[in-house]
């Protein structure tokens, strides 16, 4: 599997995927950490990919998503956005609905 196939495999076979710096237990950037907190507040069931452990994917996903920064949240195979979009959707009450729509909650 090449890197694009790996990305597609991850986002198509997992309802919620968070590409982040570090891990949920040890986020290595404030924006990744805030996104984890919001997902936890929504009781989201998600997998994470630590982009520091996969330099090839880190660069490829930026181009694939047309999005130059991390974190990146995918729900149902679609890019939702980075930290500030996730915060915005949470404040508007839309994020829990989006998660529920893909069975992405605990």
């Amino acid at each position: 599997m090449n890197v694009i196939e790996r990305i597609k495999d991850q986002i198509e076979n997992n309802p919620v995927v968070l590409y982040m710096k570090g891990s949920p237990d040890f986020p290595q950037c404030g924006f990744s950490g805030q996104t984890v907190q919001i997902l936890d507040a929504c009781q989201a069931k998600y997998i994470h990919v630590n982009i520091f452990e996969d330099p090839e994917l880190r660069e490829a996903l930026k181009a694939y998503s047309n999005w130059p920064t991390y974190p990146q949240l995918y729900i149902g195979g679609e890019l939702i956005g980075g930290c500030d979009i996730v915060i915005d959707l949470y404040k508007k009450g839309e994020l829990p609905k989006m998660l529920a729509a893909v069975n992405g909650t605990v």
């Binding site: 290595q28 950037c29 404030g30 924006f31 047309n66 999005w67 130059p68 920064t69 890019l79 939702i80 956005g81 980075g82 500030d84 979009i85 915005d88 959707l89």
Partner: protein, 92 residues
């Protein structure tokens, strides 16, 4: 100044009705992301190009206009992108 370059790039791309850049870099000095030299900025921009676009699409348009600046000069960018019809609250 990076904030001036951001303003020039976005003004050229969107002909905005309003644009404001805030440089928050000082608040983040010293953490891992800023060590590579990238700054933290927040941009508020009002332009016709955002009419009818989703949040993701609006951010993608802004990132595209900034191009390579996102790789070096900018570590993080907060974006508040509105269309002229949405900018009615007088909050700016």
């Amino acid at each position: 100044m990076t904030s001036e370059l951001i303003k020039q790039a976005l003004t050229a791309a969107f002909k905005p009705a309003l644009i404001e850049i805030i440089d928050n870099s000082a608040a983040h000095a010293g953490h891992a992301g800023s060590q590579s030299g990238g700054g933290h900025f927040h941009v508020t921009i009002v332009a016709q190009a955002f009419e009818g676009k989703s949040l993701v699409q609006r951010h993608q348009l802004v990132y595209k206009a900034l191009g390579d600046m996102m790789k070096q000069q900018i570590h993080a960018l907060g974006i508040n992108a509105l269309s002229p019809s949405e900018d009615t609250k007088g909050s700016l």
